[in-house]
Symmetry: C2
Subunit: 341 residues, 2 copies
DNA sequence: CTCGTTCCCTAGAACGTTCTAGTAGCTGGA
DNA sequence: TCCAGCTACTAGAACGTTCTAGGGAACGAG
């Protein structure tokens, strides 16, 4: 049975209303609402009762205005990236128990990163967590001059001083994928890359290095790609026309790998019998029974935990280990890889 | 060349700082920042200059605290629903030009709808837009007693008075799909439904009615499903075992349809040659060249526009047409439907 | 020259909260 | 008896903005 609010619309109850009803000062109500010490048990009860009755809810904006700390972390994310959704889930899970609120700002068509970060700053966030930011390093540096900034998944080689970086060891992930394929007996292993997407350069490099280390430098084949299903599908079509046709392919991410799988199925090329396919991320997609994709898993909860942790550490003046926080990837072997025919 | 902020951290510049630097009152700076009338051209210029120099940004929280209107719309969405992402994009596109800001609150594992709406209320949103809310009608009614609430995609047959509903005509969409298949010559048309998801009941009903109207009541076959790829895949497996095997299937949504397609491809059942498949939503997924799914399109920009429009209309005291806002679906014919073999 | 208007600008209150500095009343020890 | 040290409470300032009221100067009309 929800308590009927005393005031229907527009005027929401304030501390003063509660105070008047309970016959105490607003300061005391504030104390009770914050569960701070300095109020007697009986009065506390009476105040809570009064608050309940008139449906009082604290106004966070006024609260933040007054207290110099806002305990608010701004998170910028891309609306169309499932990977970001997964990260966000982790961010919430870590931040809220630590006593920090999350303010979200989406990057979408017609709403660029500048706009997204501007609103976060205007909301008085204490720190910024940027998921896969694409903004120029200079812009990130500018932000970092104002408040702690954490870049997740985007590497910044000293070009934006002050920005914390949390990322997966992308090159290592690509290496694990290649090692796995080589161990199965593959030699013609192609890579459909991620173009200019965050992490793409490292995965490309990891692939190249691993191939060389196995003496397969001359088999290296990098096909231009991107981070969508379509990019993967296009890459796969190019792959089918190649001679000799590779027996395995490492896609930039799971979305791209899905595109590859689909194209191969359509072309009646059995996976993994004729071609093995590996994705990257271990997103929900890869785990679906009917996709069952072998993939390089990113430790998403760990990435989220590190990102939030670094932001909070910077805010609370703790000492932070120098340099990037790099999380190890882990190959997840499922059904799309096997020995070559 | 970004201007170097005068104050590095913590203390961000305020109106007073700008005022001091420009040699005017804070009230005047406020006027200039809001682009309100009441300031001379020369002074205006000088103030803007000063603001620029010290990197001033208005503090929205303080701003909202003072002005009785907050011009803030709270939007609750599900992190794992691409359809919600698309809607959000539309919401931003409509709200910001209309002078309203958006506060996002995600529903995720471990963060339920109650939590999501609570934070929105604490942030002083003026109205709530809930994307596919699953909360009990009583809770929605409780919210609606406090402020304007719009439910998108979830139908509420009078069980939550005061809640505005904006949705697609799901039954009509299902009808269009069936009509299209019947026109192609199909008679054995199955439906993999959405279980208890918002809209599922209407689509199920629309399918049944349309089948009856074509004299195919005895061919009706509804398979239990859901809103994920896995649900679709499971439905498709059941479908393949059926005798007689249907020649066409209407999935609950595009995600489900993707699962169906994948299962059929794997089973070497050619689409659309042996089985036609229709999805629902016309999400990004369906438009991908390699999926190329015939689907019932929801008019996402229109849904977003109506949702925001109703919220704003309620806030500004405009007269709103009674009843739900129902948007017409439109069948998008692509490559997964054809005449039966 | 005076009066009203208009334009530019300012002082100070207000928004709903938290914080600082205190007051009043009690308990207990010397 | 006195005071130190608690606990329970309050008044009032402060946060950064916008709003209300108004002040002074310039100008045109009478």
């Amino acid at each position: 049975m929800p308590p009927t609010p005393a005031v229907p619309h527009g005027k929401r109850p304030t501390l003063a209303d509660v105070a008047a009803r309970a016959g105490v000062s607003t300061a005391l109500v504030s104390i009770v609402m914050r569960d701070a010490k300095g109020a007697g048990a009986a009065t506390r009860e009476r105040v809570l009762q009064a608050a309940q009755e008139i449906g009082y809810r604290p106004d966070t904006r006024a609260r933040l205005l007054r207290s110099h700390r806002s305990h608010l972390l701004g998170v910028q994310f891309g609306l169309q990236h499932p990977f970001h959704s997964d990260l966000l889930e982790g961010v919430y899970a870590v931040a809220e128990p630590a006593g920090y609120q999350i303010a979200l700002s989406a990057v979408a068509a017609g709403r660029g990163e500048q706009r997204a970060t501007d609103t976060l700053l205007a909301d008085r966030c204490e720190a910024l967590i940027l998921l896969g930011p694409q903004a120029p390093a200079a812009r990130l540096a500018e932000l970092a001059a104002q408040l702690p900034v954490v870049s997740v998944a985007r590497r910044l080689r000293g070009s934006a001083p002050g920005v914390e970086v949390v990322r997966t060891a992308d090159d290592e992930g690509a290496r694990q994928a290649v090692d796995h394929l080589v161990a199965l007996g593959h030699r013609d292993i192609a890579h459909i890359d991620g173009g200019r997407a965050p992490g793409a350069a490292d995965r490309r490099r990891g692939y190249r290095t691993a191939m060389s280390r196995h003496g397969l430098a001359d088999r290296v084949r990098v096909l231009p790609g991107g981070l969508t299903e379509e990019d993967g599908a296009a890459g796969a079509r190019a792959l089918l026309d190649a001679a000799p046709r590779p027996t395995a392919v490492l896609a930039f991410n799971d979305r791209s790998a899905t595109g590859v799988l689909d194209t191969l199925l359509r072309a009646r090329v059995p996976v993994p019998d004729e071609i093995s396919v590996i994705g990257f991320d271990d997103s929900h997609l890869a785990r679906l029974a009917h996709i069952n994709l072998t993939t390089v898993g990113q430790d998403i909860p760990r990435l989220a935990e590190l990102a939030v942790g670094r932001a909070i550490a910077r805010l609370e003046g703790e000492r932070i280990p120098d340099g990037e926080a790099v999380v190890a990837p882990r190959l997840v072997i499922r059904g799309t890889t096997a020995e070559p025919a």
